[in-house]
């Protein structure tokens, strides 16, 4: 395969991936527009201040990460957890005693429920789209209009304490800031203690308008221990004391806002969209009456609603891209109307700007009727409820439009992938063809893809669809053609077709929801079936019996019968592999949809275990598994001479696994430490072992990528004479005699190469070793045993797949015709010829190492080696004397009389293949085009249906500025 074809294949895959993700990963355009005080003006309402008269001068925002709604709300009944329910007693007391000054709200987050995305939504008021989801650990500065920028723009000061995600989002905005690192989720206390150290001082200072304090302890406790743990109770009690202190220090002009940015699941995780993760708590409190409702617990308020509410309560302009509605309860009766009007005006303005800038016609056509209805309202009909309803509807439209995939791009992606795949297949099948015409097609495709990448033309996707599908059809036809040629020679038996059936079944299983839910069972079942099939296919490897032979001894029992047809190795290996596969169930994690599934204690995090015996068992099995894994692979490398020599690579390969093992051991031991001990070691201690493991693995991978060969060449006299002292030492001398002769003949010194026998498998094992260590660290101590089992299983299966008819060894033959069968032809060389080669060898005829026509039972078989075979068990008894290189002359396949007509037809079809395909393709295109053309459908109906009323042309709604 030439370099440029390879380059085109790579480009094809990359383009497919890019276009698919462009259609699938939804993006939202960010508008760089800001709100200002002059934007919203009500001639009918006396506005003092900016948009609305401020109810509060200052606000304290306490973010308690992962504060779920039921942590705060009063819980009764049998399901009350002693660890996390009713622990925030201060809030409960305030809700009862100061009814009108406190408000508890169920605060519904939008997925993804990760802290960075929540903070963006809570400051800008916008809805997240899919493309945002991956950026949690590289928080970049917010470039959209947001609360903090608005306050700073009005010369009001913002103080920040806590999670350093905020300072990544707002690098220069805060008047004073006290950030603390949030990365180490095992660390429960350093952020919280840091915040508490400064919080009360800052509360007493008069120079701020907004004070944000972000506590991470509850979230990290969830990650580390899960919610049902004594640490969680301790953490929530600490938060409760903090809230009590803050409420005592609260001034009359200050609003206290406490909320969680998201919830957590029963295992303490978050990020998804389950109800437990979405339902956070929001608590509002002030010394003056806040609202006049009787019920001070509200349900289901969207998280973005806090943005307009806070901005109008403190009176600064609502951020431009905010899509929230105000919470009407916290405004006075007189203010509600003005607040609702400001709210609706701001959202309508955003809708205008967004649909103008993005050019999204679907969005415009959906917003249009809503705006028209709203504009036609008379002042009497314009109630608070009406305004808020309009905002909510607009929010819903935006949400739906941002959650709609772009079909044409995705289709291009899928087609490009399939096309490249089929082309790769073709390249593999007939690589000696010249691909001139095809290359032109490919280049045009790439060019169009480039244009599509930069441009916005509507016609490009359609052209790409056509071009790609044309190439796909060509390739598929060629592949089917190739398959038919193969099929004429031999029909595959049912037994050989069954693995393909399994593959198809697996592919088909993804179309059923239930099979996706139980995917691991489906895969296990199919894998076990294929294992049994492998066993059945190996049947008869050791069968010496033919039905006609009378001399065959009677088989006395069922067990002997099985032994005749199967060798013990196959049966044993299959059984062990089956048991290993089956035992994988012990390590299963539960999917959300599997309601009856009980998660295994092996998959839970180590710290969430309560029982010391469990911990012991897990720790010891994990240690044994990882130790066995590492040392088995390392000893393989050592035995095969890959660790010999003093090059940096071999020394590193020898030392790195041991270092990694030690690091993993230290890391797991550190998990035993109770939390108060942990505190003293801080982050350096908990992050160092993983860092060591990752660095070593990356380094080794890079070394292996630069030069994968792990061989060590020693020129001159043999360094290790004592190597392989065995019974064949005398034969070894013969071999060395040859070698010396060879050296004298050539006049060059000969050397010894270590690690040549496993030159290919050695680096693979080394890479496996590198990444096993990383995997072990990532998966945790519970799963390691399964990792070990899977590697063992693969080894067993690979061993079973190794087929050698008469046992291991080098197979030689006295007959050239026999040898030629095993001499594969090369790829086409530069002269356009195929070349093969046969080696002429000299062997030392030693009965202990060479088998010729003897009847001896060897492992896996009990067969007579035919006379024409020489099987050399000891490689050193063979020396290659000549290499016969020959060219291949291809013969046309022989055909019988019956097949001639068929072949002639096929021949005609294959010579005119291109035109046939073009005809087929264009008729297909015509059919598709006609089927989707409205005019054609119209006349079609006209012709075949007598009456066809109400035909409508697609009228494109153009958005007009109202």
């Amino acid at each position: 395969m030439r370099l440029w074809t390879l380059a085109l294949v790579v480009v094809g895959y990359l383009a497919g991936l890019y276009f698919y993700s462009r259609g699938f990963l939804l993006t939202r355009q960010t508008l760089r527009l800001n709100s200002s005080c002059a934007d919203v003006q009500h001639p009918d309402a006396p506005v003092r201040g900016c948009w609305l008269e401020a109810r509060f001068k200052r606000a304290i925002v306490l973010v308690i990460d992962a504060l779920r709604f039921d942590f705060v709300d009063r819980q009764t009944g049998p399901d009350v957890s002693p660890y996390y329910h009713n622990r925030l007693a201060t809030i409960g007391r305030l809700l009862e005693e100061r009814k009108h000054q406190s408000l508890l709200v169920e605060f519904t987050a939008d997925p993804p429920t990760t802290t960075l995305q929540r903070l963006k939504a809570l400051t800008t008021g916008s809805l997240p789209t899919f493309i945002d989801a991956g950026t949690n650990f590289a928080g970049t500065a917010i470039d959209e209009d947001n609360i903090i920028d608005q306050l700073v723009g009005l010369d009001r000061n913002v103080i920040f304490l806590g999670d350093d995600t905020w300072t990544a989002l707002f690098p220069a905005q805060f008047h004073r800031q006290f950030p603390f690192p949030s990365f180490d989720v095992k660390d429960l206390h350093s952020v919280d203690d840091g915040v508490l150290g400064h919080l009360y001082d800052e509360l007493n200072k008069p120079d701020w308008t907004l004070l944000v304090a972000h506590f991470l302890g509850v979230d990290h406790c969830g990650h580390k221990y899960g919610p049902s743990h004594p640490e969680m109770r301790r953490k929530l009690d600490q938060m409760d004391r903090m809230i009590a202190n803050v409420t005592q220090l609260l001034a009359d002009d200050t609003l206290l806002i406490i909320f969680g940015d998201h919830g957590m699941t029963t295992t303490g995780d978050h990020g998804g969209d389950s109800p437990d993760e979405l339902a956070a708590a929001l608590f509002l409190h002030s010394n003056l009456p806040l609202h006049s409702e009787d019920n001070n617990v509200l349900s289901a308020v969207a998280q973005v609603d806090l943005v307009p509410t806070l901005s109008l309560l403190l009176d600064f302009p609502t951020p431009f891209s905010s899509l929230g509605t105000i919470i009407p309860q916290v405004f006075t009766r007189e203010q509600q109307m003005a607040a609702a009007k400001a709210n609706v005006e701001q959202v309508v303005r955003y809708a205008h700007s967004y649909s103008k800038q993005s050019g999204d016609s679907a969005l415009s056509s959906r917003l249009q009727p809503l705006l028209r209805t709203f504009n036609s309202l008379t002042p009497e009909e314009l109630t608070v409820e009406r305004c808020l309803e309009t905002v909510r509807q607009m929010q819903r439209i935006f949400r739906e439009c941002w959650a709609t995939f772009h079909g044409p791009w995705m289709l291009i992606g899928v087609l490009a992938m399939l096309e490249t795949l089929s082309w790769t297949l073709r390249l593999m099948v007939d690589e000696d063809r010249s691909w001139g015409g095809r290359a032109v097609l490919k280049l045009v495709t790439v060019l169009l893809q480039l244009i599509a990448y930069f441009g916005q033309q509507e016609i490009i996707p359609v052209a790409l669809h056509m071009l790609l599908s044309l190439q796909l059809v060509l390739d598929l036809a060629a592949i089917v053609n190739g398959l038919m040629v193969v099929k004429q020679n031999r029909l595959p038996s049912l037994l050989h077709a069954f693995p393909f059936l399994l593959l198809l079944l697996h592919a088909a299983s993804f179309f059923s929801n239930s099979f996706v839910v139980y995917e691991r069972d489906v895969i296990r079942y199919l894998a076990q079936t294929s294992l049994l099939l492998l066993l059945v296919q190996r049947k008869g490897v050791g069968a010496p019996r033919k039905p006609g032979t009378a001399a065959a001894p009677k088989i006395p029992s069922l067990w002997r019968l099985i032994c005749v047809y199967f060798d013990w190795k196959s049966i044993l290996f299959t059984m062990v592999a089956l048991v290993l596969l089956r035992s994988g169930v012990m390590f299963a994690k539960c999917r959300e949809e599997q309601s009856e599934c009980v998660p295994s204690w092996l998959t839970a995090s180590f710290q969430s275990l309560h029982d010391d015996a469990d911990k012991n068992v897990r720790f010891l099995t994990a240690l044994a598994s990882v130790g066995l894994l590492i040392f088995a692979m390392r000893s393989f490398l050592r035995r095969n001479g890959h660790l010999d020599g003093h090059s940096f690579k071999s020394v590193a390969l020898g030392a790195a696994p041991l270092l990694s093992f030690t690091a993993i051991l230290v890391y797991w031991v550190s998990l035993w430490l109770p939390d108060n001990v942990w505190q003293h070691y801080q982050t350096a201690f908990s992050l160092a072992p993983p860092l060591i493991v990752y660095t070593l693995s990356l380094m080794l991978t890079a070394l292996l990528a630069i030069n994968p060969l792990l061989i060590n060449v020693v020129m001159g006299e043999q360094k290790r004479e004592e190597l392989d002292e065995s019974a064949v030492a005398s034969k070894r001398k013969v071999f060395q005699h040859f070698k010396r002769n060879w050296a004298e003949y050539l006049g060059q010194p000969t050397g010894t190469v270590f690690g040549l026998a496993s030159a290919i498998s050695g680096p693979i094992v080394a890479l496996l070793l590198c990444w096993t260590v990383v995997l072990v660290l990532l998966l945790g101590d519970g799963i390691v045993a399964s990792n070990f089992a899977s590697i063992l299983r693969h080894g067993l299966i690979n061993n079973m797949n190794k087929v050698s008819a008469f046992g291991e060894g080098t197979y030689l033959s006295t007959e050239l015709s026999l040898s030629l069968n095993w001499s594969p032809m090369s790829a086409v060389d530069s002269n356009g010829k195929r070349v093969g080669c046969v080696a002429l060898c000299e062997i030392v005829n030693d009965p202990s190492g060479v088998k010729i026509g003897c009847n001896e039972s060897v492992v896996g078989s009990a067969k007579t080696v035919p006379n024409k075979y020489f099987i050399v068990r000891n490689d050193e008894l063979v020396i290659v004397r000549y290499l016969l290189v020959y060219e291949h002359e291809s013969k046309p396949p022989q055909t019988s009389n019956q097949q001639r007509l068929f072949h002639r037809t096929l021949g005609w079809l294959s010579t005119h293949r291109f035109w046939l395909l073009m005809c087929l393709y264009f008729s297909l295109l015509m059919a598709v085009g006609l089927a989707s053309s409205s005019n054609f459908r119209f006349y079609w109906k006209r012709l075949f249906a007598q009456y066809w009323p109400n035909h409508r042309h697609n009228d494109h709604h153009h958005y007009d500025d109202a």
Partner: protein
């Protein structure tokens, strides 16, 4: 076929029960918690597979040819082989409906696998009849069956 063959067939069935129990557990049935269900499956499948085989063969060589080489010696053996293979395949395929979320009572282990085994045996019987009536079978000289 006589009393001896029937006794041997029963012996085969008894030997087959633990084999199928182990196979069922390996393929995902619970080890002990649903003992009776798994045992039911093992008994049913052992009856379907080993009873016809046990009835029809006379020596283990024949059985080996029948099962592993697909060379039945008599018509009866052909029928027994098709029934046995059919019921194994049917039981294998029957498991496909267990994970589906239709909430039917017959989806609970071991009903689909036993039912699949019975249906597979029936289909195997039909196939055997088809093969005997109009399949490409030829008599060898000693009145034995050989599949071309």
């Amino acid at each position: 076929m006589g009393l001896w063959a029937v006794l041997r067939a029963i012996w085969f069935v008894i030997v087959g029960i633990p084999i199928f129990y182990v196979v069922a557990v390996l393929f995902g049935a619970p080890l002990l918690s649903e003992l009776y269900e798994t045992l039911t499956f093992a008994i049913a499948l052992s009856c379907l597979v080993f009873f016809p085989l046990g009835l029809t063969f006379t020596s283990y060589d024949q059985l080996g040819r029948l099962v592993f080489e697909n060379r039945p010696d008599t018509k009866r053996q052909l029928v027994a082989q098709r029934i046995a293979f059919g019921s194994v395949l049917g039981a294998w395929g029957g498991a496909a409906v267990i994970p589906l979320d239709w909430d039917r009572p017959w989806q609970i282990w071991p009903t689909p696998c036993v039912a699949g085994g019975v249906i597979g045996a029936f289909l195997g019987l039909l196939l055997a009849i088809f093969a005997l009536r109009c399949g490409p079978l030829t008599f060898s000289k000693r009145q034995k069956w050989k599949i071309v």
